[in-house]
């Protein structure tokens, strides 16, 4: 909804001042360099935080979620837009990405109250399996055909099958990051919100397993390395297993703190997220799995879940702003220009399959039709985990893996914008958002 004229104009005026100040600084300082300079990183951090927040406010005024604005701000600020922030300057800020993923995974784990979900377990599992069962084969077969007919992956059948399989698994991934960010912004509560977060986490857990299997199959088919598929699967399972165990311990430690101290919970959670990132970098394990487990333990093994979630809510916005604007900054518009027809095909197929799979799964699980009709839009967005897959595929399967990774990134870009908008609309339509709910009750 658009507010008063001055309220709507305010972010534009502020963006004008911000651009003028930053441009003046660039001019006086002799322009941006193309190498890493600490002072450019500091300037980029300040600019991105304020710019993305303001663009977020503008899109919110038009009814879209703020993270769409954060993403857009990243593109606008980057080398393909206004050129206010260069790639070298944001490199050190990528640390914030890992921090954001940890906070998002905390929230995803914390949202999984097992006692609450137990009554709906069948419907949640149904929706998750429905998506996997429909999206994976449909995407696999469609892109097997596309890759085979266009020849963009070469003519070797093993490579074409492997590429289609990995791309099919990618299509199954959701985005806990986007789901949590939209739920956090709208403060939505209710069966649709619960279904979105529950199914998103379940699907991502399934996808982690599926990706391990698909990677092993691709290794075996293409003979990509000496260790073959078993090495790939073994490494993957080891990483997730250790992350799960260490995450459990981190959760217990967090319960100890939360039950003894009342103050500074947001600061404490930010600190724990940083420690998790540091441990994961040291041990080469997954921060996502570790933080999901920690959040799950706090929510289900203590009485501190409510304070944990409120603390997370208060500490996460600045991190989300940086995370999503950096995601936008990374978008290469020249790649988009080249691959958009294929990416668009993937998006259309995926949206249709996600919607139908969710509806079938919900029906099988005995879920209300109304919930499934709204919840499916929460599974359109894609971000963190899928980007991680793109990087892994590019690294593990050169040179064709790089092409798949590029297509994945192009698809993610469209879904990153589409997902939050669809999800927010559905939450509003379901009457689960706090702001809109309040407005409705006044009316």
């Amino acid at each position: 909804m658009i507010g008063s004229a001055s309220e709507t104009a305010r972010p534009f005026v502020l963006i004008g001042i911000l651009l003028a100040v930053t441009s003046l600084a660039h001019h006086l300082g002799g322009g941006l360099s193309h190498e890493f300079q600490p002072e450019e990183s500091a300037l980029a951090l300040g600019f991105l935080l304020l710019f993305a927040f303001l663009v977020g406010q503008i899109v919110r005024n038009f009814g879209a979620p703020m993270i769409t604005g954060f993403l857009l701000a990243g593109i606008l600020a980057g080398p393909h837009g206004l050129g206010m922030v260069n790639t070298a300057a944001v490199e050190p800020l990528r640390l914030v990405n890992l921090l954001a993923l940890s906070l998002i995974a905390f929230a995803a784990g914390g949202a999984m109250k097992i006692s609450r979900f137990r009554t709906r377990a069948r419907s949640l599992v149904g929706m998750a399996l429905g998506q996997v069962a429909l999206v994976l084969p449909l995407a696999f077969l469609s892109f097997l055909l596309v890759f085979g007919l266009t020849g963009i992956m070469g003519s070797e059948p093993a490579v074409v099958v492997s590429a289609a399989l990995l791309f099919g698994v990618f299509c199954v991934t959701n985005s806990p990051a986007e789901a949590i960010a939209v739920l956090s912004e709208t403060r939505a509560k209710g069966p649709v919100a619960e279904a979105i977060i529950g199914v998103t986490v379940l699907v991502d857990l399934l996808v982690i397993f599926l990706f391990g299997v698909a990677g092993a199959v691709a290794h075996t088919l293409t003979g990509a390395d000496d260790a073959g598929g078993s090495g790939f699967v073994g490494g993957f399972l080891y990483e997730q297993g250790v992350s799960f165990l260490v995450g459990g311990l981190a959760g217990m430690a967090m319960i100890t703190y939360l039950s003894r101290f009342q103050k500074n919970v947001p600061l404490f959670l930010l600190g724990v997220a940083m420690v998790i990132v540091a441990i994961c970098q040291k041990m080469d394990i997954s921060p996502m799995m570790m933080a999901i487990t920690a959040g799950l333990v706090v929510e289900n093994a203590s009485e501190e879940g409510e304070r944990f979630m409120v603390g997370l809510h208060h500490s996460s916005l600045p991190v989300f702003v940086i995370f999503f604007s950096l995601s936008g900054h990374k978008v290469d518009l020249s790649v988009m220009a080249e691959l958009w027809p294929l990416a668009l095909l993937a998006v259309v197929l995926r949206v249709a399959a996600v919607r139908q799979g969710t509806l079938w799964g919900a029906r099988w699980g005995g879920e209300e039709e109304r919930v499934a009709r709204h919840a499916w839009s929460g599974f359109v967005g894609q971000a963190g985990l899928s980007l991680g897959f793109a990087v892994m595929i590019a690294t593990e399967f050169p040179p064709w893996g790089e092409k798949i990774a590029t297509l994945i990134v192009a698809t993610i870009v469209i879904n990153e914008f589409l997902g939050p908008i669809l999800m927010k609309r559905s939450l509003v339509a379901a009457g689960e958002t706090r702001r809109e709910g309040a407005a409705d009750s006044q009316n």
């Binding site: 935080l49 927040f53 640390l95 600061l267 600190g271 940083m274 540091a278």
Partner: protein
């Protein structure tokens, strides 16, 4: 040590340190006064840095520059936001004159002494010489209200007027020092090799003021009252990062730029604006982090550094003592000022360290390393002795009032 661990250690130390550094009531009086303001955290920083276990090496310290600049912007902003014209007008004129007089005298004395010592002992060239001397002088001319306010609580109400006056002096004398540092950074632009350049200096000064006003306008126009607490935090963080980023990028003083923004905001925002509470709530952790960073930055710069520091400390103590005595006779502040009132202004506090850190990160090199070493050593010594001097002065004042009665 990895960057992420450094950030974790710094923030954990700041958070935990702020809980314990100012809670020493149970310690014996001598120990409590010796460690009154938490200066021991400088040594924790030294232990972590190149002078100690070298867990954080010089290269990592360079990468920490944006974090340090953020801390400096915070310090400048928090100080600037206390400078309300309405409140300043209420301060007794005599006390105001005394404040600036003692600050100027101390600054000039230390400037001269340091200039001579460095000119004789080192060959830094004119820019390193003058800029370094000016920075050491600015850091020496200021006093810290923290020690005074920590001690004031243990005195009867009859001593309150004296402490109030000293607190006013020690709060206000920081402003001109930060302005002086800002001017030095403009006139000796680090971007141009640190040589004196009036043309570029004037341009930089003009644009600094323009940028500061624009940044203040940006913050003012945000309509933050409609924001949720987490949105308010995002805006404040972004704003601090932008101030420090602009200053670092232009090789200006983040303290100076933030001070100007703070003054502009202090005089345009209402007293109940949430930004005041948000900034003051983080005062103690940031103070501890500044102390640790000072220890980390303290690189070895020759044995004569200690001799120079001792000379600066003595010159400063003498100048403060004499200037307060003369100033009290000349300007006659309301209710008078004890002749040994200068003893109450011995502590320097975190802003002196911030001035030193500012110099090191914008002008890396031997001259700034030496100047910072001197500043940090003098601050540490003054933090140890200041509580005893303050008590001595307050006890004498109480005794003289009793005798007078």
């Amino acid at each position: 040590m990895d960057m992420i661990w450094i950030v974790i250690v710094l923030f954990a130390a700041g958070y935990l340190g702020s809980r314990f550094a100012f809670a020493k009531e149970r310690l014996p009086a001598l120990l409590r006064d010796t460690f009154l303001t938490g200066w021991e955290f400088i040594f924790i920083g030294m232990a972590l840095g190149p002078l100690g276990f070298d867990l954080i090496d010089a290269e990592r310290m360079g990468q920490l520059a944006p974090v340090m600049a953020l801390g400096l912007a915070w310090a400048g902003l928090i100080f600037g936001m206390q400078m309300r014209l309405v409140d300043l007008k209420k301060v007794d004129r005599g006390l105001l004159k005394l404040t600036f007089f003692q600050m100027a005298v101390t600054g000039m004395v230390v400037f001269g002494i340091y200039l001579v010592m460095v000119a004789v002992g080192r060959s830094f060239g004119s820019s390193g010489l003058f800029a370094g001397a000016a920075v050491v002088a600015a850091a020496s001319s200021i006093s810290s209200p923290t020690t005074l306010s920590l001690i004031a609580g243990s005195y009867p109400r009859t001593s309150a007027p004296l402490f109030r006056k000293l607190l006013t002096v020690s709060t206000l004398d920081v402003g001109p020092a930060l302005v002086a540092v800002g001017l030095v950074f403009c006139l000796f632009p680090a971007g141009g090799g640190g040589a004196f350049d009036l043309d570029r200096g004037t341009t930089l000064l003009f644009f600094s003021i323009l940028i500061a006003l624009a940044l203040a306008g940006l913050f003012r126009y945000f309509e933050r009252r409609q924001l949720k607490p987490e949105e308010e935090l995002t805006v404040l963080l972004g704003f601090l990062a932008l101030i420090s980023g602009v200053a670092l990028f232009l090789k200006l003083s983040p303290l100076f730029l933030a001070l100007m923004v703070g003054v502009a905001l202090a005089n345009t925002l209402t007293r109940d604006d949430p930004v005041f509470a948000a900034l003051f709530a983080t005062e103690k952790p940031f103070y501890i982090i500044l102390l640790i960073l000072s220890g980390l930055l303290w690189a070895p710069s020759g044995g004569e550094m200690f001799a120079m520091a001792m000379a600066v400390m003595l010159a400063r103590a003498w100048a403060k003592g004499v200037s307060v005595r003369i100033g009290a006779d000349l300007f006659r502040p309301e209710g008078g000022m004890p002749r040994d009132g200068g003893l109450g202004l011995m502590a320097q506090g975190a802003l002196a360290l911030a001035i030193g850190i500012n110099y090191v990160i914008v002008y890396p090199g031997d001259a700034s390393r030496l100047a910072f070493g001197v500043i940090a050593f003098v601050v540490a010594l003054n933090e140890i002795v200041a509580p005893f001097f303050i008590r001595q002065m307050a006890n004498r004042d109480a005794a003289s009032r009793k005798g007078g009665r």
